[in-house]
Amino acid sequence: MSDLISAHGLVKIYKSRKSEVRALDGVDLAVPEGTVLGLLGPNGAGKTTTVRILATLLKPDAGTATIAGHDVVGEPDAVRRLMGLSGQYAAVDENLTGSENLWLFGRLYQLPSREAHSRADELLSQFDLDDARDRVVKTYSGGMRRRLDLASALIGRPRLLILDEPTTGLDPRSRLGMWEVIRGLVREGVTLLLTTQYLEEADELADMIAVVDHGKIIARGTADELKSQVGGERIEVVVRDRAAVDTARDLLARDAGDEHTTFDEHTRKLTVPAHGGAQTLVQVVRDFDEAGIHIDDIALRRPTLDDVFLALTGRAAADETAEATGTTGPTTAKPGRAA
């Protein structure tokens, strides 16, 4: 299978009077046709900048990128013909109705008027917007607006779909609905590039994940590969009596078959890698009960994006988010005027 997206050494620098931010610092990407790549990272990591370059909205300062062999800088029109973009920025017109939006974008995609109409009708029913088709988008809920946005990206039946944080800001139910829609599109064979802040989302939707931080790709692999880098599941126990900690620690290490236990003085929380998963947890509960150790809390924890980040960068993702939104222009500035 050949690569539909191919990018080498993408660099983007945002200059302002005071500072210079390397939003992208040498990003390489290869996405085979028919697969899903998830770009995972916190705000300000460079996800949106990458997407904007691939979608021909932004020129890289260095490096090259091609979509189906067409250079994004040299042949933007050819790229736009086979790509659909939906995201934080590329929007729908809130003063037009749902069907007017889709018809307009279809026409501008160079579809004949009749085909733009029939394609719009098709998408409106596919995305469950039939009842709202003649309502002005201003009156739509957040979830409906995102679905219309996604429908707009699909108006020209693109080979490549680029979704920039498709579920950010949606409530859990709308998010699940959106995932279902996206999975359906992938089944039909569309190639998908997806950015997200949520490991869970990348896990659900992506074949391959690239973790982005400070404009660089710091890890790539399948969801399972990334999680195993973090060390897989852990058991966390909060012991009621501080005197029982040593006994508890020995029991944990024995049951888990791993000496790498940690203890947090402040929270009285013991942690150990759980190679045996739930089975280990059951064993621990049984042994603690037998030994008469009282516990306040016990849980089997799966790795989260925070854990992946902590493991990969030594920093927590949450801190990174706060820092990044405060200092880097690209994601907080308005589209197209970040420089």
Partner: protein, 273 residues
Amino acid sequence: MSAGTREAPRGGAARAITDGLLVGWRNLKRIPRIPELAIFAILQSIMFVLLFVFVFGGAIPIPGGGDYKQFFMPGIFAQTIVFAAATTAIGMTDDVNKGIIDRFRSLPMSRSAVITGRTFSDVIYNAGILLVLMVTGFIIGWRVDSLPALAAGFLLLLFFAYGMAWLGVWLGLNVPTVEVGQQVIFTTLFPITFISNVFVPLQTLPSWLQPIAEWNPTSTLTASLRQLWGNPNPSTSGSLATTQPILVTIAWVFVIIAIFGPLGVRRYRSMSR
């Protein structure tokens, strides 16, 4: 997914025109959905008419005689059209900030269509505003010499509106928010429309200010309309701006487009940097 049947790529010019019309259609479609914009634009002009005709009018004598109402109406049309730049700038900034421009830029459409569509639709929008104002003028007693003269003046106003739309495009792409755009427009255009022959005869201005006011495009446009329509048009000097106001006004429009057209297009292209 199969590649859908796609229209054979149309020629550059045909595509530019169709896409420009589509963007224009979209802009016009929005007007009745946000009626407040048009209503307040009209109310603001009507307020000016009433204030000046009935409050200040009595205190402002027209050299050579004539009714202030007849003198003032062409001026208010000109002022309204100078402010057409605000409509365009606000629409442009709003499109950038709401992400619509990014949507357009991600589509295989003509690159010029976003700007040409905007200037085209704003001229039509202003034509509508002018019609309402002209009817208002007739109601309060403003009269013109002939219908062809009225039509000629109307066309000149629209041509001027087209020039101002280009200024608006450039401005709209250079301000960060709609609010800033409004501030910039009102602090720059209010003096421009006031240092003119719109509200008072130029003779009443200090002599050093008179030449500036005389060559002000707002003045030449107003003088053109007064001349065309047979409304009182007291002139101060024998300069080209007062003897040939129509030619000077047309020249002004070309100058405005020659300056702000390329600047606006360049700013639009540089959005990908």
